[in-house]
């Protein structure tokens, strides 16, 4: 190696690819997945000394092995999907919204408030509409704040949105003390457990039918908005270059604020889907890191809302599956986080190899 070091040319050179065919890109992705599964297998064998194939069967079993597990996977994937979809407009504009957690929490808090205070005064369908509107507004406000500061004072939106997460967390903590049941327990418990007021009602006999409809509708709308509307085009231009946008006569301030309002509103709506459509309670863990996982989903999907369906399904599939193998083999659930972590690492890694290519120095063969 010391001989190589003398050479000015590096052993490997990284350069950006001009373009890559879809076939090749997907080839790299599948190779990444296959590699990650192999590494996961090695880790599992090291920990439990168990046949990795049986472990993978456990993953499949845990994610879709029973009707209810299947639906839990669907429910969690939908939740992740709508958050990723919510982040898309902002990210496409290169506005780094790390504040989805906070926007979800605000939407969730408002949803809980509606359930608690309006549970008895209006019919369920009306309450649900009120919840959708109110939670979107809460998320919208939480997104508007950093957008205004970014547009007018050019503040750092990454830090601003991140910090707002902690503010949202404190607001939730405060509300829990306000609503806690029983007093002093620090939990709100299931809201309207007896009456199910404000809960998503069954549709077509499916418990998560309404989740599916709302999330897929939002996904489709955002997809069309981004791809086929003038505003969606403006977002893309602002994301490419604010100067170009200004030159083209686009009001950049307006686009930033409008786009973040949309982004925040969708994330706020996600809060209502978690609280009203799944957990029926509010706690500081309501967002549960999903606001960050969704960033990965959005990136991996290249900000294409339709691709996000697949990516979020896959991630949740692996998460649910690894929870199962943790209990099946008496592992701590941290073991399942390791597996999901390895997987995400390889998936992000394969995106790198799609954007960049490695040129190995030809001479290296002679050295070997």
């Amino acid at each position: 190696m010391s001989k190589d070091a003398v050479n000015k040319e590096l052993f490997v050179r990284v350069s950006k690819r001009d373009s890559i065919s879809q076939k090749k890109a997907w080839g790299i992705r599948f190779a990444g997945i296959a590699l990650s599964l192999i590494v996961c297998a090695l880790v599992i064998v090291a920990i439990v000394n168990e046949n990795p194939i049986r472990v993978y069967m456990g993953i499949i079993n845990g994610a879709i092995g029973a009707k209810r597990r299947f639906w839990v996977t669907i429910r969690e994937a939908l939740t992740l999907l709508i958050i990723a979809v919510g982040l898309t407009p902002a990210f496409k504009m290169k506005f780094w919204n790390i504040g989805a957690e906070g926007q979800i929490l605000m939407g969730g808090t408002v949803t809980a408030a509606m359930m608690i205070y309006f549970g008895d005064v209006m019919p369920n369908w009306l309450l649900l509409i009120v919840i959708f509107i109110a939670s979107s507004l809460a998320g919208l406000l939480w997104g508007l704040l950093p957008a205004v500061f970014k547009a007018y004072y050019n503040t750092n939106e990454t830090l601003f949105t991140l910090m707002l997460n902690y503010v949202a967390m404190q607001i939730v903590t405060f509300c829990i003390v306000f609503w806690e049941n029983p007093t002093g327990s620090n939990t709100v418990g299931i809201i309207n457990g007896a009456t199910a007021k404000g809960w998503f009602s069954k549709i077509f006999g499916l418990q998560y039918g309404l989740n599916i409809i709302v999330v897929l509708a939002v996904t489709l709308i955002v997809f069309l908005y981004m791809k086929h509307s003038k505003q969606g085009y403006e977002i893309a231009v602002v994301g490419e270059s604010q100067n170009t946008a200004r030159y083209a006569g686009i009001n950049v301030k307006k686009v930033i604020i409008r786009t973040m309002m949309i982004s925040g509103a969708v994330c706020g709506l996600a809060g209502s889907i978690i609280v009203s459509g799944a957990s029926h309670t509010i706690s500081t863990s309501t967002a549960g890191g999903r606001g960050f996982t969704a960033i990965i989903v959005a990136w991996m999907s290249k900000f294409n809302p339709l691709a996000m369906i697949g990516v979020s399904l896959f991630l949740v599939f692996m998460q649910q599956g690894s929870i199962q193998i943790a209990s099946q083999y008496g592992l701590n659930t941290n073991a399942s986080d390791i597996i999901t972590g390895i997987l995400i690492f390889f998936l992000i890694g394969s995106e790198f190899f799609i954007s960049y290519k490695l040129d190995f120095r030809k001479k290296s063969k002679e050295v070997k």
């Binding site: 194939i53 049986r54 069967m57 029973a66 002093g184 209990s327």
Partner: protein, 416 residues
């Protein structure tokens, strides 16, 4: 080209392996049996009486083995499995189950895997367990620290806890003797005998615990006082450490805790202040200051509940047992730190608790704002709710429902 070929090979291998496994799966492997995608609730529900071979036990934990409270539960499950001769695949454990819909998912998943009885160990799991109990009427559900089993009216929903106030009282006696020792040696004056208590939440479970601890100390050291501060978390090592330091700065000469981590004992060890722990023996982290810990043995309950399912007998809606049933204890006394003669006094107190001659919440031993509890119940509407608990000169803790009910701040204890 090579890449494509490798890729194809990998894919082919993966597919081959999966299908290969699929067929071996039908062989009826123990680990894979829970799969049963159809016919979810039908099989193995009706267990023949007296047969432990077909029974399946499920449990969800809020934490894992690294956290004292859950570790104690895991130990109890182990004791149960050993004493009833259950094999490892008859017990399904799920760790790190939060207090949200994931608790419901986990509980239902266990029921669908064919568990005959499902346990949950955290307060916030209760609502979700009740929801599951309404759906799976053939499965028994038992929830630790909860309070709604009896009022829910569900025959398959149960609450359990232990009379840990008894072991807290005993650990309080150990603390009181240590304070006496310090007073006799002239290290502190009788008036300076102040204890600090790191509490989780201002909630009956915690208040009941620290009151019992204080009464134990007071029974041997009459001048003792106590300051309580809360961390507002069950397990937050940093906060517990900080609060303990604050208490020591406020003049506490001895520290105790109702919080799950080793944060407080570590702070006490650093400050060379004696400390009484909770859940687990703290001598590992505080070898020079830890006196003892109030501990809970969950084994008796888990054995009782699972045995009841095997025998086909009913499980009590509320279960709370103490010294008599071996459900509570204190960890071995650290002789190098504790006052001389502690072991003898502890044995005496424990015998009195077992015999029932000593009541922890004896109303003649404490006052609230200068009045006795009986006087307050008669005169003050705020205390009326305790009327069902107080009779025969003592507060009947954990007898009406299994979870602690004593939520009164008595004289001598200050809260922050």
């Amino acid at each position: 080209m090579k890449k494509v070929v490798t890729l194809l090979l990998v894919l082919a291998m993966t597919v081959g392996l999966f299908t290969g496994c699929g067929s071996s799966n039908k062989g009826g492997n123990a680990d894979n049996t829970p799969a049963a995608p159809s016919g979810t609730e039908t099989d193995s529900e009706a267990i023949p009486e007296g047969s432990a071979a077909d029974i399946k036990v499920g449990i969800i934990y809020i934490g894992d083995e690294n956290e004292g409270y859950t570790a104690a539960h895991m130990e109890g499950i182990k004791v149960m499995a050993t004493s009833l001769g259950l094999s490892s695949d008859q017990v399904i454990e799920k760790t790190h189950i939060g207090e949200d819909e994931s608790a419901y998912d986990a509980i239902v998943d266990l029921a669908e895997q064919g568990c005959n009885i499902v346990f949950a160990n955290s307060f916030g799991h209760e609502d979700y367990m009740i929801q599951a109990a309404q759906e799976f009427t053939d499965v028994q559900f038992a929830h630790a620290t909860g309070f709604q089993a009896a009022s829910s009216g569900l025959p398959n929903m149960h609450n359990y806890f232990t009379a840990v106030y008894e072991s807290r009282y005993v650990s309080g006696v150990v603390a009181g003797l240590k304070l006496n020792d310090m007073i006799t040696k002239g290290e502190i004056t009788a008036e300076e005998a102040k204890m600090g208590y790191v509490g989780a939440y201002p909630y009956a479970e915690v208040v009941s615990g620290f009151t019992a601890f204080y009464l134990g100390a007071k029974s041997v050291c009459p001048s003792v006082t106590m300051e309580v501060q809360y961390t507002n978390s069950w397990a937050d090592m940093t906060a517990e450490n900080e609060v303990a330091k604050q208490l020591i700065a406020n003049g506490a000469k001895l520290i105790s805790q109702h919080a799950d981590t080793t944060g407080a004992p570590t702070a006490a060890e650093d400050a060379k202040v004696p400390v009484v722990g909770y859940n687990v023996d703290m001598t590992l982290v505080a070898p020079n200051t830890a006196l003892t810990s109030a501990t809970i043995n969950w084994g008796p309950y888990y054995t009782y509940a699972v045995k009841s399912v095997i025998d086909g007998t009913a499980i009590a809606a509320d279960w709370s047992k103490g010294y008599v049933d071996g459900a509570v204890a204190i960890s071995p006394i650290n002789e190098s730190v504790a006052a001389e003669g502690t072991a003898d006094k502890v044995a005496e107190v424990e015998a009195a608790l077992k015999a029932g001659t000593l009541k922890v919440f004896d109303t003649s031993t404490f006052t609230v704002n200068g009045s006795t509890l009986e006087e307050l119940i008669a005169s003050n509407a705020d205390y009326e709710k305790y009327s069902a608990n107080v009779s025969d000169g003592y507060f009947h803790e954990s007898e009406v429902i299994s979870s602690p009910a004593f939520g009164i701040i008595i004289d001598g204890i200050t809260e922050k």
